[in-house]
Amino acid sequence: MNDILSGIQAAFWLIVTLDADLIEITLRSLQVSLSALVIASVLALPFGTWLAVRRFRYRRATIATLNALMGLPPVVVGLIVYLLLSRSGPFGVLGLLFTPTAMIIAQVIIITPLIASIAHQAMRELWAEYHDLLISLNTTKRQRIMTLIWDGRRALLTAGLAGFGRAIGEVGAIMIVGGNIDHATRVLTTAIALETGKGDFELALGLGFVLIALALLVNFGIHSLSKTEREGRW
Protein backbone atom coordinates (compact mmCIF):
# COMPACT_ATOMS: atom_id res chain seq x y z
CA MET A 1 0.00 0.00 0.00
CA ASN A 2 2.86 2.32 0.92
CA ASP A 3 4.48 1.61 -2.42
CA ILE A 4 1.35 2.68 -4.27
CA LEU A 5 1.00 5.90 -2.27
CA SER A 6 4.61 6.88 -2.85
CA GLY A 7 4.08 5.98 -6.51
CA ILE A 8 1.19 8.41 -6.74
CA GLN A 9 3.31 11.01 -5.00
CA ALA A 10 6.20 10.43 -7.39
CA ALA A 11 3.86 10.71 -10.36
CA PHE A 12 2.44 13.94 -8.99
CA TRP A 13 5.88 15.51 -8.60
CA LEU A 14 7.00 14.33 -12.02
CA ILE A 15 4.02 16.04 -13.57
CA VAL A 16 3.93 19.31 -11.61
CA THR A 17 7.65 19.86 -12.08
CA LEU A 18 7.25 19.09 -15.80
CA ASP A 19 10.15 16.67 -15.59
CA ALA A 20 12.03 16.97 -18.89
CA ASP A 21 12.63 13.23 -19.28
CA LEU A 22 9.03 12.46 -18.47
CA ILE A 23 7.78 14.91 -21.09
CA GLU A 24 10.16 13.59 -23.69
CA ILE A 25 9.19 9.98 -23.00
CA THR A 26 5.50 10.81 -22.95
CA LEU A 27 5.65 12.71 -26.23
CA ARG A 28 7.52 9.84 -27.84
CA SER A 29 4.94 7.37 -26.57
CA LEU A 30 2.22 9.51 -28.14
CA GLN A 31 4.18 10.01 -31.34
CA VAL A 32 4.76 6.28 -31.81
CA SER A 33 1.30 5.08 -30.82
CA LEU A 34 -0.63 7.82 -32.62
CA SER A 35 1.38 7.25 -35.82
CA ALA A 36 0.67 3.53 -35.51
CA LEU A 37 -3.00 4.31 -34.89
CA VAL A 38 -3.28 6.54 -37.98
CA ILE A 39 -1.59 3.99 -40.25
CA ALA A 40 -3.50 1.05 -38.80
CA SER A 41 -6.82 2.92 -39.09
CA VAL A 42 -6.20 3.85 -42.71
CA LEU A 43 -5.66 0.15 -43.39
CA ALA A 44 -8.14 -1.44 -41.02
CA LEU A 45 -11.26 0.74 -41.17
CA PRO A 46 -11.89 0.43 -44.91
CA PHE A 47 -10.85 -3.22 -44.81
CA GLY A 48 -13.24 -4.06 -41.96
CA THR A 49 -16.03 -2.21 -43.74
CA TRP A 50 -15.22 -3.86 -47.05
CA LEU A 51 -15.41 -7.26 -45.35
CA ALA A 52 -18.89 -6.39 -44.07
CA VAL A 53 -20.13 -5.29 -47.50
CA ARG A 54 -18.48 -7.71 -49.85
CA ARG A 55 -19.44 -11.35 -50.34
CA PHE A 56 -16.62 -13.50 -51.66
CA ARG A 57 -15.46 -17.05 -51.51
CA TYR A 58 -12.98 -16.95 -48.64
CA ARG A 59 -14.86 -14.35 -46.59
CA ARG A 60 -15.49 -16.59 -43.59
CA ALA A 61 -11.92 -17.81 -43.58
CA THR A 62 -10.69 -14.23 -43.80
CA ILE A 63 -12.83 -13.15 -40.86
CA ALA A 64 -11.72 -16.14 -38.79
CA THR A 65 -8.09 -15.35 -39.59
CA LEU A 66 -8.63 -11.73 -38.64
CA ASN A 67 -10.13 -12.69 -35.30
CA ALA A 68 -7.27 -15.07 -34.65
CA LEU A 69 -4.71 -12.38 -35.51
CA MET A 70 -6.37 -10.16 -32.92
CA GLY A 71 -4.76 -12.37 -30.32
CA LEU A 72 -1.25 -12.10 -31.79
CA PRO A 73 1.23 -12.16 -28.92
CA PRO A 74 3.10 -8.82 -29.12
CA VAL A 75 6.38 -10.44 -28.13
CA VAL A 76 6.21 -12.73 -31.15
CA VAL A 77 5.38 -9.80 -33.42
CA GLY A 78 8.34 -7.97 -31.93
CA LEU A 79 10.65 -10.90 -32.55
CA ILE A 80 9.52 -11.30 -36.16
CA VAL A 81 9.79 -7.57 -36.92
CA TYR A 82 13.19 -7.63 -35.25
CA LEU A 83 14.38 -10.48 -37.46
CA LEU A 84 13.01 -8.76 -40.57
CA LEU A 85 14.58 -5.38 -39.79
CA SER A 86 17.88 -6.71 -38.46
CA ARG A 87 20.89 -5.85 -40.61
CA SER A 88 21.16 -9.56 -41.41
CA GLY A 89 17.42 -9.76 -42.20
CA PRO A 90 15.60 -9.08 -45.49
CA PHE A 91 14.92 -5.40 -44.74
CA GLY A 92 18.24 -4.75 -43.00
CA VAL A 93 19.42 -2.27 -45.62
CA LEU A 94 16.76 0.20 -44.48
CA GLY A 95 18.56 0.50 -41.14
CA LEU A 96 15.26 0.79 -39.25
CA LEU A 97 15.99 -1.43 -36.25
CA PHE A 98 16.12 0.49 -32.94
CA THR A 99 14.30 3.51 -34.36
CA PRO A 100 10.78 4.81 -33.60
CA THR A 101 9.82 3.70 -37.11
CA ALA A 102 10.49 0.08 -36.17
CA MET A 103 8.28 0.51 -33.10
CA ILE A 104 5.51 1.96 -35.25
CA ILE A 105 5.76 -0.97 -37.67
CA ALA A 106 5.42 -3.47 -34.82
CA GLN A 107 2.47 -1.63 -33.32
CA VAL A 108 0.72 -1.36 -36.67
CA ILE A 109 0.98 -5.13 -37.04
CA ILE A 110 -0.38 -5.65 -33.55
CA ILE A 111 -3.37 -3.29 -33.71
CA THR A 112 -4.50 -3.50 -37.35
CA PRO A 113 -6.30 -6.86 -36.91
CA LEU A 114 -7.90 -5.60 -33.70
CA ILE A 115 -9.25 -2.42 -35.31
CA ALA A 116 -10.34 -4.25 -38.46
CA SER A 117 -12.17 -6.89 -36.46
CA ILE A 118 -14.08 -4.45 -34.26
CA ALA A 119 -14.82 -2.27 -37.30
CA HIS A 120 -16.11 -5.29 -39.20
CA GLN A 121 -18.50 -6.25 -36.41
CA ALA A 122 -19.91 -2.74 -36.13
CA MET A 123 -20.16 -2.30 -39.89
CA ARG A 124 -21.91 -5.63 -40.34
CA GLU A 125 -24.83 -4.39 -38.24
CA LEU A 126 -25.01 -1.06 -40.02
CA TRP A 127 -24.83 -2.77 -43.41
CA ALA A 128 -27.73 -5.06 -42.49
CA GLU A 129 -29.71 -1.89 -41.76
CA TYR A 130 -28.67 0.03 -44.89
CA HIS A 131 -28.39 -2.86 -47.35
CA ASP A 132 -31.72 -2.56 -49.18
CA LEU A 133 -31.59 1.21 -49.46
CA LEU A 134 -28.04 1.40 -50.78
CA ILE A 135 -28.70 -1.38 -53.29
CA SER A 136 -31.90 0.32 -54.41
CA LEU A 137 -30.12 3.66 -54.89
CA ASN A 138 -27.71 1.88 -57.22
CA THR A 139 -24.64 2.97 -55.24
CA THR A 140 -21.16 1.89 -56.28
CA LYS A 141 -19.12 -0.30 -53.92
CA ARG A 142 -16.94 2.66 -53.05
CA GLN A 143 -19.97 4.80 -52.22
CA ARG A 144 -21.37 2.05 -50.00
CA ILE A 145 -18.13 1.76 -48.05
CA MET A 146 -17.78 5.52 -47.69
CA THR A 147 -21.40 5.83 -46.51
CA LEU A 148 -20.95 3.09 -43.91
CA ILE A 149 -17.66 4.57 -42.68
CA TRP A 150 -19.21 8.02 -42.34
CA ASP A 151 -22.45 6.94 -40.69
CA GLY A 152 -20.67 4.41 -38.47
CA ARG A 153 -17.89 6.78 -37.50
CA ARG A 154 -18.62 6.60 -33.80
CA ALA A 155 -18.32 2.82 -33.78
CA LEU A 156 -15.14 3.16 -35.80
CA LEU A 157 -13.82 5.70 -33.33
CA THR A 158 -14.35 3.12 -30.61
CA ALA A 159 -12.44 0.58 -32.68
CA GLY A 160 -9.62 3.06 -33.09
CA LEU A 161 -9.56 3.78 -29.37
CA ALA A 162 -9.31 0.10 -28.58
CA GLY A 163 -6.35 -0.07 -30.94
CA PHE A 164 -4.72 2.97 -29.39
CA GLY A 165 -5.15 1.53 -25.90
CA ARG A 166 -3.44 -1.66 -26.96
CA ALA A 167 -0.66 0.23 -28.72
CA ILE A 168 0.24 2.65 -25.96
CA GLY A 169 0.16 -0.02 -23.26
CA GLU A 170 2.24 -2.50 -25.23
CA VAL A 171 5.77 -3.26 -24.08
CA GLY A 172 6.92 -6.66 -25.35
CA ALA A 173 7.27 -5.86 -29.04
CA ILE A 174 8.60 -2.32 -28.83
CA MET A 175 11.17 -3.34 -26.24
CA ILE A 176 12.63 -5.80 -28.75
CA VAL A 177 12.48 -3.65 -31.89
CA GLY A 178 13.06 -0.27 -30.25
CA GLY A 179 15.77 -1.28 -27.81
CA ASN A 180 14.60 1.19 -25.12
CA ILE A 181 17.38 3.64 -26.05
CA ASP A 182 17.44 6.71 -23.85
CA HIS A 183 16.52 9.86 -25.84
CA ALA A 184 15.79 7.80 -28.94
CA THR A 185 13.32 4.97 -28.47
CA ARG A 186 12.40 5.02 -24.78
CA VAL A 187 8.65 5.19 -24.24
CA LEU A 188 6.49 5.00 -21.13
CA THR A 189 6.05 1.24 -21.05
CA THR A 190 9.70 0.39 -21.69
CA ALA A 191 10.76 3.01 -19.14
CA ILE A 192 8.45 1.36 -16.61
CA ALA A 193 9.99 -2.04 -17.34
CA LEU A 194 13.44 -0.51 -16.92
CA GLU A 195 12.68 1.19 -13.60
CA THR A 196 11.02 -1.96 -12.28
CA GLY A 197 14.19 -3.82 -13.23
CA LYS A 198 16.18 -1.33 -11.20
CA GLY A 199 13.87 -1.91 -8.25
CA ASP A 200 12.84 1.75 -8.42
CA PHE A 201 9.15 1.12 -7.93
CA GLU A 202 8.27 4.73 -7.15
CA LEU A 203 9.40 6.04 -10.50
CA ALA A 204 7.96 2.96 -12.25
CA LEU A 205 4.59 3.51 -10.63
CA GLY A 206 4.81 7.24 -11.31
CA LEU A 207 5.35 6.55 -14.98
CA GLY A 208 2.54 3.99 -14.80
CA PHE A 209 0.11 6.57 -13.50
CA VAL A 210 1.16 8.99 -16.20
CA LEU A 211 0.45 6.25 -18.75
CA ILE A 212 -2.99 5.58 -17.31
CA ALA A 213 -3.77 9.31 -17.15
CA LEU A 214 -2.67 9.69 -20.75
CA ALA A 215 -4.88 6.84 -21.95
CA LEU A 216 -7.85 8.30 -20.07
CA LEU A 217 -7.16 11.78 -21.40
CA VAL A 218 -7.02 10.65 -25.02
CA ASN A 219 -10.20 8.65 -24.54
CA PHE A 220 -12.09 11.54 -22.99
CA GLY A 221 -10.72 13.91 -25.59
CA ILE A 222 -11.90 11.85 -28.51
CA HIS A 223 -15.19 11.10 -26.80
CA SER A 224 -16.00 14.76 -26.21
CA LEU A 225 -14.92 15.61 -29.75
CA SER A 226 -17.39 13.10 -31.15
CA LYS A 227 -20.06 14.41 -28.80
CA THR A 228 -19.78 18.03 -29.87
CA GLU A 229 -19.87 16.91 -33.45
CA ARG A 230 -23.00 14.93 -32.84
CA GLU A 231 -24.79 17.83 -31.18
CA GLY A 232 -23.57 20.47 -33.59
CA ARG A 233 -24.14 18.78 -36.87
CA TRP A 234 -26.88 16.40 -36.18
Binding site: Q31, G92, F98, T101, G179, N180, I181, G197, F201
Partner: protein, 265 residues
Amino acid sequence: MKRIIAAFLILFSTQLHAETMKLAVTTSFHNSGLSDVLLPVIQDEIGIEVQLIVVGTGQALRLGRAGDVDAILVHSKAAEETFVEDGYGTHRREIMYNDFVLIGPETDPAQIAEAATASGALQKIEAIQSTFVSRGDDSGTHKKETSLWSSAGFDAASFGAWYKAVGSGMGASLNTAAGIDAYILSDRASWLNFGNKGGLAVLFSGDPVLFNQYAYLPVDPERHPHVNATAARQLEAWLTSPTAKELINTYQIDGEGLFTFNATQ
Protein backbone atom coordinates in the same frame (compact mmCIF):
# COMPACT_ATOMS: atom_id res chain seq x y z
CA MET B 1 -3.25 15.92 -42.77
CA LYS B 2 -0.44 18.50 -42.42
CA ARG B 3 -0.07 17.50 -38.81
CA ILE B 4 0.32 13.86 -39.77
CA ILE B 5 3.04 14.75 -42.25
CA ALA B 6 4.74 16.87 -39.62
CA ALA B 7 4.64 13.96 -37.20
CA PHE B 8 6.32 11.75 -39.77
CA LEU B 9 8.99 14.34 -40.43
CA ILE B 10 9.81 14.45 -36.74
CA LEU B 11 9.80 10.70 -36.69
CA PHE B 12 12.30 10.29 -39.50
CA SER B 13 14.44 13.21 -38.47
CA THR B 14 15.38 11.33 -35.32
CA GLN B 15 17.61 9.20 -37.51
CA LEU B 16 19.43 12.13 -38.98
CA HIS B 17 21.45 13.18 -35.93
CA ALA B 18 24.93 14.39 -36.76
CA GLU B 19 26.97 11.60 -35.19
CA THR B 20 25.45 8.67 -33.36
CA MET B 21 26.53 5.14 -32.74
CA LYS B 22 24.81 2.16 -31.22
CA LEU B 23 26.49 0.28 -28.41
CA ALA B 24 25.04 -2.93 -27.00
CA VAL B 25 25.78 -3.16 -23.29
CA THR B 26 24.82 -5.60 -20.58
CA THR B 27 22.07 -4.95 -18.10
CA SER B 28 24.55 -5.06 -15.23
CA PHE B 29 26.69 -2.31 -16.76
CA HIS B 30 23.68 -0.11 -17.37
CA ASN B 31 22.25 -0.73 -13.91
CA SER B 32 25.51 0.45 -12.36
CA GLY B 33 24.68 4.00 -13.43
CA LEU B 34 28.21 4.53 -14.77
CA SER B 35 26.86 5.13 -18.26
CA ASP B 36 24.92 8.15 -16.98
CA VAL B 37 28.27 9.67 -15.98
CA LEU B 38 30.24 8.66 -19.07
CA LEU B 39 27.80 9.38 -21.92
CA PRO B 40 27.44 13.17 -21.41
CA VAL B 41 31.22 13.54 -21.21
CA ILE B 42 31.66 11.46 -24.37
CA GLN B 43 29.13 13.69 -26.13
CA ASP B 44 31.02 16.79 -24.97
CA GLU B 45 34.54 15.67 -25.69
CA ILE B 46 34.27 13.74 -28.95
CA GLY B 47 30.81 14.80 -30.12
CA ILE B 48 29.34 11.32 -30.41
CA GLU B 49 25.88 10.46 -29.13
CA VAL B 50 26.19 6.89 -27.90
CA GLN B 51 22.85 5.07 -27.98
CA LEU B 52 22.79 2.18 -25.53
CA ILE B 53 20.90 -1.00 -26.31
CA VAL B 54 20.61 -2.65 -22.92
CA VAL B 55 20.37 -6.43 -23.24
CA GLY B 56 21.88 -9.62 -21.86
CA THR B 57 25.36 -10.68 -22.98
CA GLY B 58 23.91 -13.38 -25.24
CA GLN B 59 21.70 -10.93 -27.11
CA ALA B 60 24.44 -8.29 -27.21
CA LEU B 61 26.69 -10.74 -29.03
CA ARG B 62 23.89 -11.63 -31.41
CA LEU B 63 23.24 -7.94 -32.16
CA GLY B 64 26.92 -7.58 -32.97
CA ARG B 65 26.93 -10.65 -35.21
CA ALA B 66 23.88 -9.36 -37.11
CA GLY B 67 25.50 -5.95 -37.49
CA ASP B 68 22.63 -4.21 -35.70
CA VAL B 69 25.01 -2.30 -33.42
CA ASP B 70 28.39 -0.66 -34.03
CA ALA B 71 30.16 -2.11 -30.99
CA ILE B 72 29.46 -4.10 -27.83
CA LEU B 73 30.60 -3.78 -24.22
CA VAL B 74 30.13 -7.09 -22.37
CA HIS B 75 31.70 -9.35 -19.77
CA SER B 76 31.99 -12.95 -20.89
CA LYS B 77 35.54 -13.63 -21.98
CA ALA B 78 35.10 -17.01 -23.70
CA ALA B 79 32.13 -15.86 -25.77
CA GLU B 80 33.92 -12.63 -26.65
CA GLU B 81 36.96 -14.50 -27.94
CA THR B 82 34.76 -16.70 -30.11
CA PHE B 83 33.07 -13.56 -31.42
CA VAL B 84 36.43 -12.16 -32.57
CA GLU B 85 37.68 -15.53 -33.89
CA ASP B 86 34.56 -15.96 -35.99
CA GLY B 87 35.32 -12.65 -37.63
CA TYR B 88 32.42 -10.58 -36.29
CA GLY B 89 34.56 -8.20 -34.25
CA THR B 90 37.90 -6.65 -35.16
CA HIS B 91 39.42 -7.18 -31.71
CA ARG B 92 38.70 -7.37 -27.98
CA ARG B 93 39.87 -4.54 -25.72
CA GLU B 94 39.68 -4.90 -21.95
CA ILE B 95 38.43 -1.70 -20.30
CA MET B 96 37.71 -2.26 -16.63
CA TYR B 97 36.43 -4.76 -14.11
CA ASN B 98 34.05 -4.81 -11.22
CA ASP B 99 33.15 -7.76 -9.03
CA PHE B 100 30.33 -10.14 -8.29
CA VAL B 101 28.94 -10.55 -4.81
CA LEU B 102 26.85 -13.21 -3.14
CA ILE B 103 23.70 -11.75 -1.66
CA GLY B 104 21.26 -13.40 0.69
CA PRO B 105 18.91 -12.89 3.64
CA GLU B 106 20.52 -10.92 6.48
CA THR B 107 19.96 -13.91 8.79
CA ASP B 108 22.26 -15.92 6.50
CA PRO B 109 20.85 -19.41 7.19
CA ALA B 110 23.70 -21.09 5.27
CA GLN B 111 26.38 -19.08 7.12
CA ILE B 112 28.16 -18.21 3.86
CA ALA B 113 29.65 -15.06 5.42
CA GLU B 114 32.11 -17.34 7.18
CA ALA B 115 33.21 -19.10 3.99
CA ALA B 116 36.80 -18.63 2.82
CA THR B 117 36.16 -18.91 -0.93
CA ALA B 118 33.29 -18.47 -3.34
CA SER B 119 33.23 -22.24 -3.89
CA GLY B 120 33.00 -22.77 -0.14
CA ALA B 121 30.07 -20.35 0.11
CA LEU B 122 28.16 -22.13 -2.63
CA GLN B 123 28.83 -25.52 -1.02
CA LYS B 124 27.28 -24.23 2.20
CA ILE B 125 24.16 -23.10 0.33
CA GLU B 126 23.87 -26.46 -1.41
CA ALA B 127 24.36 -28.33 1.87
CA ILE B 128 21.16 -26.96 3.38
CA GLN B 129 19.45 -26.48 -0.02
CA SER B 130 18.60 -22.90 0.85
CA THR B 131 16.53 -21.12 -1.81
CA PHE B 132 18.76 -19.69 -4.56
CA VAL B 133 17.67 -17.48 -7.44
CA SER B 134 19.55 -17.82 -10.71
CA ARG B 135 19.30 -15.41 -13.66
CA GLY B 136 18.85 -18.42 -15.93
CA ASP B 137 18.99 -16.20 -19.04
CA ASP B 138 22.37 -17.16 -20.50
CA SER B 139 23.70 -13.72 -19.60
CA GLY B 140 27.29 -13.04 -18.54
CA THR B 141 26.27 -13.12 -14.91
CA HIS B 142 24.44 -16.40 -15.41
CA LYS B 143 27.43 -17.94 -17.18
CA LYS B 144 29.65 -16.79 -14.30
CA GLU B 145 27.30 -18.35 -11.78
CA THR B 146 27.21 -21.67 -13.63
CA SER B 147 30.98 -21.81 -13.79
CA LEU B 148 31.20 -21.04 -10.05
CA TRP B 149 28.86 -23.92 -9.30
CA SER B 150 30.91 -26.31 -11.40
CA SER B 151 34.18 -25.26 -9.77
CA ALA B 152 32.45 -25.92 -6.44
CA GLY B 153 31.78 -29.44 -7.72
CA PHE B 154 28.12 -29.22 -8.73
CA ASP B 155 26.02 -29.25 -11.87
CA ALA B 156 23.47 -26.46 -11.52
CA ALA B 157 21.17 -28.17 -14.02
CA SER B 158 20.61 -31.09 -11.64
CA PHE B 159 19.42 -29.02 -8.66
CA GLY B 160 15.98 -29.43 -7.17
CA ALA B 161 13.20 -26.95 -6.55
CA TRP B 162 15.28 -24.78 -4.19
CA TYR B 163 17.26 -23.58 -7.22
CA LYS B 164 15.05 -21.15 -9.13
CA ALA B 165 16.12 -20.15 -12.63
CA VAL B 166 13.92 -17.10 -13.27
CA GLY B 167 15.07 -16.27 -16.80
CA SER B 168 15.13 -12.51 -16.20
CA GLY B 169 17.47 -9.55 -16.07
CA MET B 170 19.48 -8.64 -12.99
CA GLY B 171 16.91 -6.23 -11.58
CA ALA B 172 13.96 -8.55 -12.01
CA SER B 173 15.97 -11.41 -10.50
CA LEU B 174 16.90 -9.28 -7.50
CA ASN B 175 13.23 -8.37 -7.10
CA THR B 176 12.42 -12.09 -7.03
CA ALA B 177 15.18 -12.86 -4.52
CA ALA B 178 14.02 -10.01 -2.27
CA GLY B 179 10.48 -11.32 -2.50
CA ILE B 180 11.30 -14.87 -1.34
CA ASP B 181 14.42 -14.21 0.80
CA ALA B 182 16.74 -16.18 -1.43
CA TYR B 183 20.48 -16.21 -2.11
CA ILE B 184 21.57 -14.74 -5.44
CA LEU B 185 24.73 -13.86 -7.33
CA SER B 186 24.82 -10.26 -8.54
CA ASP B 187 27.34 -7.79 -9.78
CA ARG B 188 28.10 -5.22 -7.11
CA ALA B 189 26.99 -2.28 -9.21
CA SER B 190 23.49 -3.60 -9.90
CA TRP B 191 23.11 -4.42 -6.23
CA LEU B 192 24.16 -0.99 -4.98
CA ASN B 193 21.85 0.76 -7.41
CA PHE B 194 18.97 -1.57 -6.66
CA GLY B 195 16.16 0.21 -4.87
CA ASN B 196 14.18 -2.67 -3.40
CA LYS B 197 16.73 -4.44 -1.19
CA GLY B 198 14.17 -5.77 1.28
CA GLY B 199 15.82 -8.06 3.85
CA LEU B 200 18.82 -8.85 1.65
CA ALA B 201 22.48 -7.98 2.25
CA VAL B 202 25.91 -8.67 0.72
CA LEU B 203 27.17 -11.75 2.55
CA PHE B 204 30.25 -12.78 0.61
CA SER B 205 32.67 -10.94 -1.67
CA GLY B 206 36.34 -10.44 -2.42
CA ASP B 207 37.38 -13.81 -3.88
CA PRO B 208 39.40 -12.99 -7.04
CA VAL B 209 37.36 -15.52 -9.06
CA LEU B 210 34.46 -13.09 -8.63
CA PHE B 211 36.18 -10.36 -10.63
CA ASN B 212 34.17 -9.39 -13.69
CA GLN B 213 36.14 -8.14 -16.67
CA TYR B 214 34.41 -5.80 -19.15
CA ALA B 215 35.68 -5.70 -22.71
CA TYR B 216 34.90 -3.51 -25.70
CA LEU B 217 34.47 -5.15 -29.13
CA PRO B 218 33.94 -3.07 -32.29
CA VAL B 219 31.91 -4.83 -34.99
CA ASP B 220 34.05 -5.65 -38.05
CA PRO B 221 33.25 -3.13 -40.83
CA GLU B 222 34.51 -5.59 -43.44
CA ARG B 223 31.67 -7.92 -42.57
CA HIS B 224 29.08 -5.18 -42.01
CA PRO B 225 30.09 -2.17 -44.14
CA HIS B 226 27.26 0.02 -42.78
CA VAL B 227 28.62 0.16 -39.20
CA ASN B 228 29.97 3.44 -37.96
CA ALA B 229 33.57 2.22 -37.61
CA THR B 230 34.99 5.72 -37.20
CA ALA B 231 32.79 6.46 -34.22
CA ALA B 232 33.51 3.02 -32.77
CA ARG B 233 37.27 3.74 -33.02
CA GLN B 234 36.88 7.17 -31.45
CA LEU B 235 34.85 5.73 -28.61
CA GLU B 236 37.46 3.05 -27.98
CA ALA B 237 40.18 5.68 -27.83
CA TRP B 238 38.15 7.67 -25.37
CA LEU B 239 37.26 4.67 -23.17
CA THR B 240 40.96 3.89 -22.76
CA SER B 241 41.97 7.53 -22.20
CA PRO B 242 43.07 9.13 -18.89
CA THR B 243 39.74 10.99 -18.66
CA ALA B 244 37.86 7.68 -18.73
CA LYS B 245 40.30 6.19 -16.21
CA GLU B 246 39.62 9.05 -13.81
CA LEU B 247 35.84 8.87 -14.19
CA ILE B 248 35.67 5.07 -13.91
CA ASN B 249 37.96 4.77 -10.90
CA THR B 250 36.24 7.54 -8.95
CA TYR B 251 32.67 6.43 -9.65
CA GLN B 252 31.01 5.58 -6.34
CA ILE B 253 27.64 4.55 -5.03
CA ASP B 254 26.98 5.03 -1.32
CA GLY B 255 30.67 5.72 -0.80
CA GLU B 256 31.78 2.48 -2.44
CA GLY B 257 33.94 2.33 -5.55
CA LEU B 258 32.62 -0.07 -8.15
CA PHE B 259 34.93 -0.29 -11.12
CA THR B 260 38.66 -0.60 -11.59
CA PHE B 261 40.03 0.72 -14.85
CA ASN B 262 42.56 -1.71 -16.37
CA ALA B 263 42.82 -0.87 -20.05
CA THR B 264 46.33 -1.08 -21.46
CA GLN B 265 47.54 1.61 -23.80
